[in-house]
Amino acid sequence: MKMARRAPSLPRGAALVPLAVLVLAAAAARLLGSSAPAALVPENAYDAPSLAHLFGCGEGGVDMLALLSSATLSALALAGGVALFGFAIGTPLGALAAMRRGYVEALVGRTCDALQAFPSFLLALTVLSAVRHPSRLHLACVFALTGWAPFARLALSEARVLRSAGFVEAARALGLGERKILFRHIVPNLLGTVAVQLGASASAVVLSEASLSFVGFGAADGVSLGSALDQGVSAMLRAPHVLVFAALAVFATSTSLLAAGRGIKP
């Protein structure tokens, strides 16, 4: 965190390249591929990779390329949505807390700390235990419940510095209301810094979703990186390609999001 990152001498957009490549590859595989991600062809079960099925087949004969590409895309969509939602809620909340000072500031700060440290897994389970067949929307709600905390924490600590800046005092002296100061002067100055968290948050959502579906709590349709990984583990000896490709997909999705997040410079 505190480590000075020796900035690589790459052009600014380079950090986005892995994510863009992943999205394009998955979308292309999804559009060009013939089979639906959940189509079962039992006679192909656990077939090794071949020209017809580049990544081979998994349980029940699903085409691994189709399954993994649509799982990757939906994981990215879920993660991106949750991270942007957290960004949109957390940033103004943290800034507002810093402006109000006192009790509100302490309350928001402590809540963020508690939420960030608390095992999100337990919270997710607590909420999911009330639904019989969780859908992707349920998962998104569960992640959004805590997803705003890191953004609010960052915004709070940044706004603590900004709130006594000269231009804020000037705005106040000119008679601007607190709300205008907040949205015209504080929040715009926070956006860049807080946006750095987007990649890390999205990557964490991808991993939480995959972990949940790996242990059997995922979306009911079964199109998920975690359930692909689960197939791979149970067929480890028969068809190792399932495990290898699923693990690579999890790795590629989460690290490309992390890398893209690092590309955002305040």
Binding site: K2, R110, L122, L125, A130, S211, F217
Partner: protein, 356 residues
Amino acid sequence: MAEKAPPGEGGEPGEAGEPGEAGEPGEAGEAGEAGERPEGPMAKGVVAVARTFVTQVAGQLVVVLGLASAVFFSLRLLPGDPAALVLGELAGPDERAALRAKLFLDRPLYVQYALFLKRLVTLDLGESLRRPGTTVLSRLGGALGPTAQLAFLAVLFGALAGTALAVLAAGPWLGKKKILVERLLDAAAATPLLAFAPLVTFVLAAKLRVLPLPGDPDAGVSGLLFASTLLAIPLGAHVGRITRAALRDHERAQFLTVARAKGASFVRVWVLHALPASVGPIATVIGTQLGALLGGAVVLERLFERQGLGSLILESYSARDLPVLEATIVLTGTLFVLAQSFAQAVHGAVDPRVRR
């Protein structure tokens, strides 16, 4: 839950306002591993740990209460009949009524809540729905041990490996190759456990056959060691990076120059002088990583088909065994909170600057 957590701040002075005795020589704590310390400060340290621990726990109990309430209300306030959730849609009205009576679902909500809290406090958790005759408590007891072993070993390995690598990356022994250690830590921190744990298992257990396969009942100690090593890797990477950053802060500190000038070896300078001053960040990062560690433990218990709290949660969730599920979630949350308070208390005991 979110609104309940903040009152914890009242009882959470471990960070700033703990009125501990200042001025005692707290430099060498347990990270110093210097056994021969005088009796007095040691006893004071123990008292300080105990006091910080107790105040922490008092505050954190609020968090646990919040979690328990969230478990309770999410099952009862969200739409849908819990009895139908447990029995399935096909169950007859009589069966449902019997179950509702057994789970107190036929009483008013506030009575249910009071009963729920009372049963938690008195540890009278009732029976498992799916395994009549076994108490919830006995199932929890059977699951607690394996998970505790796994988590304890993972924290131990992770903390040791992380600090060792950080000291290696800070000290003069590796020369230019130091950067490789840092790169290794960065890479390990960015690699998700979920991706590499199954792959490593596949290579070591299925291909090379040096380790027992997942689900092997004879896995025993080597299975435990393997699982906890895997779990320790992300933790160790985080510990290593934070420790490295903390050591870098101290790199040019006067007390290290003085120690060096007095003729202390590099090992002595880094391990006995620089490391104890960095115990704070180490304890803090372990505390904040405990949640992730718990999630990792659930994944690994599933991967290796091990007994434990994680697999108990999974089992009771899919069987809709509500009493077991509720109790396991609350117990796991409590353990998490206790471990986190302990990490902060250790920080307070070892670093007198925190106590003030």
